[in-house]
């Protein structure tokens, strides 16, 4: 494997073919292959089930064509024994296989596909290069139907009564993407029971899809049949009770998630408890701990979940796993040493050019000797060499010798893309005692030989151009410093709710002194007013335990009645002023976790505030915590969902309320089985295994009535009694209810985050929740380094998710705090003070808070760059009206490259 340079010669010649698993078997791959283009490491593998050499001892072509001798037919599976202190289970899920449901005819009808197949069909790298085609004439579909809950929310045919959590959202996404892919007339229809777009910014996307014409039909289609033209026929009942038969060109089955049976067996054999759904059992207050000590879980093995939640849990598991390992931190690491860097200041450029053949990838098209000969004619070029593979290890060794022998002080590699290969060459430069920024790459493969494979002469000419441009730039390059900055190995957590306390403990348990700031007089936040999690764990007890743990941890300093007044600094070196009960206190810290929470909104409708029988969730919980006997004498109660959520003014879903109402309704039924309990809802969003609570509630006789935004329930007072009128959409008539109690699922709204956002230079989204660096892949990071996000300050979420995110934030902050110094990248912006007018355009343009205007001692306004925060994106350079701000190696160098390109 070490020898493979992923040139792809083997796969070109390989005669063996089989279905490509990555494209869901929709097209073919070779017997020697890379599993998928993004594979890490990018190495070819042999499929023993297809390889002729391994099956019949014939062929052997790949070994013959491999330029590096990387093929080893004798390679065997190895059993490795590792000694570890913690284990993280992240084995994931398997999409539900609908071929066992004969009513949907997935196995038989070519135009019935699964959602995961449809993902591949939409992909430019997929079997049809992103074209959506129907069988048999490859025509673009005009009508596609998505069928939700295939393999989920069905205890009858597949046994999966849970909700798979992600399918509603991905179906909306696929429908929107399909609209983009198909030209002309097209209708996307999604058939669903409840639309579960409960995630951050999901509801807005759902609304946008509706606006753009995606049709949402509240009906489950049971059977698909096919006509002689392979069109698909579905019969379903409309909301008003009519049976409708409709014809579609393609049907996408929104398949749910399952733990594969073999994986479940392995996990069980490891002594880890799984529930009846084959998901790992966890506790809400330790959401990534399994039943076996030292074993942690994250992702869909615990429960179906989407990417951001899985990413949060992954970091949370790293936090827990790291806690027990923290005494051993750094004991198994090795530090690489390099020779001292040669000072090239004042030296004339002596450029070495290495032209790569990349096997036949470049050499088969571009005349490499010609390019090398041309390179020798260019100014400052002191050495030129052709290589079969410039990236191979022996070439690296040789390059090092050549640099030393010829006194080279800049290197140009004309080969492939710096994205994958620049770090390798930078290492070689460091080994040779050169600053690692003294290399420039000319991409004569991806941007030349591959795209111009039919025009070898023009390709050769272009390769020469690219080399000339690179050499011109290289001659201007200089050694860039990579300053190291000391890290204050202390954390600051803002917000003393469940999330904040968990983050503080996460840091302290890993040995980092942490300051916890809470604006109220007591720790605990919203959790102080909640009774139970949906799994039934008592919240008050667990929060008290958490508070005690925080209070007793010697590494945690708690300030209550405290707020953040001011802050300055950057990753590793913050200085923050707190106002503690009116007195200022300044602390130094290396990382910040924002966990300022959110709050329940006070409703403005449904007689709230006018009648004491109308309560919010938190008020209900508090009243029940005191004494729940008042429920025993009641005849009827009504829960109203989406009070203030999912409305134009607040277009997001508050995520926690459906489960909370269902859980409370169950409690009512437990205390008083004769009571009539109604839940008036728009979509029941008991995602994941919370669905089982919904089922239990229906089982116990709780009545669910759906209403829509145009027909909101009407709450009135009739004499001394409350009267609720709601329109039932199935019956098409009004129902009159006379409850003794009305519980409003009021929206969760953010705290006033503006001041904090301003101080730390953080962004808020349209709903005024903090905005993370990346909605999917970096859900606990901010764009600004060293600052992290946890809990409801990010978005409404239940306690188990707040805890997971809080642990994740601690884990992410640990990455910063565990180092004594941080090395800053060299390719950063700098401001030429002589040209700066202090206008501040750069500060506005910077997404990372890295550049700011300050007043110099002489009173002049000047922008300056905090190198540690700068990503080298050059947004400041673009914004700067005078050319004062610019990024090293991307300033005059770029202009020179353009001029050189035009010379020829």
């Amino acid at each position: 494997m070490d020898k493979c340079i992923a040139c792809g010669e083997c796969t070109k010649k390989c005669p063996g073919k089989t279905g490509d698993e990555y494209n869901e078997g929709l097209d073919k791959r070779k017997a020697i292959y890379v599993a998928y283009p993004q594979a890490v490491p990018l190495k070819y593998a042999i499929d023993p089930a297809v390889c002729l050499k391994l099956l019949k001892d014939k062929c052997g072509t790949c070994a013959k064509v491999c330029p590096t001798g990387a093929i080893n037919y004798e390679d065997k599976e190895e059993i490795l024994t590792l000694n570890v202190g913690s284990v993280i289970m992240a084995a994931g899920f398997k999409p539900f296989d609908p071929s066992r449901l004969d009513n949907l005819q997935y196995a038989k009808f070519p135009n019935v596909v699964t959602s995961i197949e449809f993902e591949r069909i939409l992909s430019a790298g997929g079997p049809t290069h992103g074209h959506i085609e129907c069988f048999p004439d490859k025509a673009e579909p005009k009508k596609i139907a998505w069928l939700q809950c295939v393999g989920s929310r069905d205890q009858n045919k597949c046994g999966n009564s849970y909700c798979s959590s992600v399918c509603c959202m991905y179906a909306v996404k696929e429908a929107m993407m399909a609209k983009d892919h198909i030209s002309g007339e097209f209708e996307a229809s999604i058939f669903l029971m409840d639309m579960r777009t409960y995630g951050k910014d999901f509801e807005k996307y759902y609304e946008r899809a509706k606006d753009q014409g995606v049709r949402f039909v509240r009906s489950r289609i049971h059977t698909i049949t096919q006509d002689e033209n392979h069109k698909l026929i579905a019969t379903y009942v409309s909301e008003d009770g009519r049976n409708i038969t409709e014809v579609f060109d393609m049907v996408v089955l929104s398949v749910g998630m399952e733990t594969p049976a073999d994986l479940a067996a392995v996990v069980r054999n490891m002594g880890i408890e799984l529930n009846a759904n084959n998901f790992v059992v966890t506790d809400s207050f330790s959401p990534v701990e399994t039943s076996r000590k030292g074993f942690y879980v994250c992702g869909a093995l615990q429960e179906p979940k989407d990417i951001p939640m899985a990413v949060m849990e992954a970091s949370a598991a790293a936090c827990d796993a790291g806690t027990s390992l923290s005494p051993a931190r750094g004991t198994l690491t090795r530090t690489r040493t390099y020779p001292a860097e040669t000072d090239i200041m004042g030296q004339d450029p002596r450029i070495g050019v290495f032209v790569c053949n990349c096997g036949t990838n470049i050499g088969g098209i571009v005349n490499v000797p010609d390019v090398a000969a041309y390179a020798r004619t260019l100014p400052h070029v002191a050495f030129v060499e052709e290589n079969m593979f410039t990236c191979s290890q022996d070439t690296q060794n040789k390059m090092k010798q050549v640099i030393e022998k010829n006194g080279l002080n800049r290197i140009v590699v004309a080969a492939c893309t710096p994205r994958t290969h620049e770090p390798l060459f930078q290492e070689t430069l460091k080994d040779a005692g050169l600053n690692k920024y003294l290399i420039e790459m000319a991409n004569i493969r991806n941007q030349c030989s591959w795209v111009h494979s039919k025009e070898p002469e023009l390709a050769t000419a272009k390769a020469k151009d690219l080399v000339r441009i690179a050499v011109a730039k290289a001659s201007l390059m200089r050694a860039l410093p990579q300053p190291t900055v000391g890290i204050v190995q202390k954390g600051l957590v803002i917000g003393g709710g469940v999330a904040g306390m968990t983050s503080a403990l996460g840091l302290a348990k890993q040995g980092f002194f942490t300051t916890l700031v809470e604006k109220e007089a007591v720790l605990g936040g919203n959790a102080l007013h909640l009774n139970q999690t949906w799994k039934g764990e008592p919240i008050a007890e667990n929060v008290a335990k958490l508070v005690k743990e925080v209070r007793e941890n010697p590494l945690i300093q708690v300030f209550t009645g405290a707020t953040v007044k001011d802050t300055a600094g950057f990753i590793g070196n913050f200085k923050t002023t707190l106002s503690v009960n009116g007195r200022d206190q300044t602390i130094d810290h290396g990382a910040v976790i924002i966990a300022t929470g959110a709050k329940e909104r006070k409703p403005t409708e449904y007689l709230y505030g006018e009648d004491e029988r109308v309560l919010t969730h938190l008020e209900l919980d508090q009243r029940m915590a005191k004494d729940s006997s008042f429920l025993k004498t009641m005849n009827a109660a009504v829960f109203i969902q989406c009070v203030g959520s999912r409305e134009p003014e607040r277009p997001y879903c508050s995520k926690v309320c459906c489960t909370h109402s269902v859980k409370s309704a169950l409690k009512f039924k437990e205390l008083n089985p004769d009571m009539d309990v109604y839940v008036l809802y728009r979509d029941i969003r008991t995602y994941g295994q919370r669905e089982e609570k919904y089922k239990e509630a229906r089982d116990k006789g709780v009545i669910f009535v759906r209403y829509d935004l145009d027909h909101k329930p009407l709450v009135q007072k009739e004499g001394s009694s409350l009267a609720v009128t709601v329109r039932d959409h199935v019956l098409g008539m009004n129902l009159g209810l006379e409850p003794d109690l009305i519980v409003l699922a009021s929206a969760i709204v953010p705290e006033d985050n503006a001041a904090l956002a301003q101080m730390f230079k953080l962004s808020l989204n349209d709903d005024r929740f903090f905005m993370e660096a990346h909605a999917k892949l970096r859900p606990v990071d901010f764009a600004t380094d060293g600052i992290f996000l946890a809990g409801m300050a990010h978005y409404p979420k239940p306690v188990e998710e707040s805890i997971a995110q809080a642990k994740a934030a601690a884990s992410r902050a640990t990455v910063v705090l565990s180092k004594e110094t941080v090395t800053v990248d060299g390719v950063v912006s700098q401001v030429n003070e002589a040209l700066c007018r202090g206008c501040g355009a750069c500060e506005d343009a910077c997404a990372f808070g890295a550049i700011a205007v300050h007043i110099r001692e002489d009173g002049v306004k000047i922008a300056s760059v905090q190198q540690a925060l700068c990503k080298g994106c050059a947004a400041c350079s673009v914004a700067c009206p005078t050319g004062a701000a610019g990024v090293f190696h991307y300033n005059n160098e770029v202009l020179t490259m353009i001029e050189t390109a035009l010379e020829s």
Partner: protein, 371 residues
């Protein structure tokens, strides 16, 4: 009122029931989903006066498909019981003749049910195996006008049993299994009949009861055990019994002459008892016979149009015509079925039409090709 019936409270409003219902396809406003929702909010409401509760065929397509396993047919049945008390009665077919026959049997009448059997083969008074003939002898008399020689299928069942070496008990004391009474909400009649039948079978010393009719089999399997507890004998439907025994007995069949046939899955045998493969295995025993599946088969099969001799309507006819067309669409010259009622209803539907597909009894088809 406090509702405790899980089957109705479970509804998630997905609409699969109504979208699957063959009655709802034709009968506008008939909606299982709406009936469930309505009783949810008004348990004793106007459903008890509604005609709709008699329209359900209890074909179980809805309950088979419901993601939360709501047993809609059972829901309907329990309301039919209440509707009867409220004087809401179904419209009976054939002038109520079959219901009258049932109630006479419940009151106790001396029947001659074995005359045909004495001619057709060998039977016993007592023994291990009891052949439950069902109402076939009455149908034989009633449906002469359709040129259906219904008793033939009982004769052939007996012939095949004899050929395997079994001399079953066939009893004059057997009575109606109570299927129609049960599904009409007449639970008292059903219970009387059920007790009588169990008594008769036990008295004959039988260890196994072989049923010629899917309705009797499904009643013993579901309703008898639910209402009266575990049965003191084994039960098996003739198709499963023959599929198991014929290969052992080495009976050979002559070539069916390159005929294409299809199979109508009776609701009671298929969805309600889960028997789909045995009848198909039996058809496959006849060389030359090709089995072509109709578009809707097995779990997705469509009912023959009426249940329990009531509410025969346009709706029934639409379903029956659909079945005939589906059979012809796959090139079948005959629809084979294992239920006497399917045979009667489809034959009736075919009368005075251009459809020529034959409607045949499965065991009779086997017997006709027996070497």
């Amino acid at each position: 009122m406090q509702l405790s019936q899980q089957q109705i409270d479970y509804c998630m409003e997905c609409g699969v029931c109504t979208g699957s219902c063959p009655v709802a396809m034709t009968l506008e406003d008939f909606s299982p989903r709406r009936m469930i929702k309505r009783t949810l909010t008004e348990p004793e409401g106007d459903i008890l006066q509604s005609k709709d509760i008699w329209a359900c065929l209890s074909c179980s397509r809805c309950s088979d498909r419901c993601p939360v396993e709501i047993d809609f047919p059972e829901f309907i049945r329990s309301y039919r019981y209440k509707a009867r008390q409220a004087d809401n009665l179904p419209k009976l077919s054939h002038h109520g003749m079959f219901h009258t026959i049932t109630s006479i049997q419940a009151k106790g009448v001396k029947q001659n049910r074995i005359e045909w059997a004495k001619k057709a083969g060998r039977i016993a008074d007592k023994g291990d195996i009891f052949y439950f003939t069902g109402c076939i002898a009455y149908y034989d008399a009633a449906f002469q006008y359709l040129d259906l020689n219904m008793i033939e299928s009982a004769e052939n069942n007996l012939r095949l049993l004899n050929r395997i070496g079994i001399q079953p008990v066939v009893s004059n004391d057997e009575c109606c299994c109570g299927h129609d009474a049960f599904w009409c909400g007449d639970e008292d009649t059903f219970l009387t009949l059920a007790r009588k039948n169990i008594q008769t079978i036990v008295a004959a010393g039988a260890k196994t009861v072989v049923f010629g009719c899917p309705e009797g089999y499904s009643m013993f399997r579901e309703a008898y055990t639910q209402k009266l507890g575990p049965l003191p004998f084994e039960i098996i439907h003739i198709t499963e019994f023959l599929a198991r025994e014929i290969p052992k007995a080495g009976i050979a069949f002559k070539n069916g002459g390159n005929t294409t046939v299809t199979f109508q899955d009776p609701c009671r045998l298929g969805r309600r008892s889960g028997i789909y493969e045995a009848p198909r295995e039996l058809i496959a025993l006849v060389p030359g016979t090709q089995l072509a599946e109709m578009e809707h088969n097995r779990e997705n099969a469509v009912c023959c149009g009426t249940t329990a001799w009531m509410e025969c309507s346009t709706c029934s006819k639409v379903m029956q015509m659909q079945r005939l067309k589906e059979a012809e669409a796959v090139g079948a010259t005959a629809i084979i079925t294992a239920c006497p009622k399917c045979r009667i209803h489809l034959t009736c539907a075919r009368k005075n039409t251009d459809h020529h597909v034959e409607i045949l009894d499965l065991v009779s088809y086997l017997a006709a090709h027996m070497e």
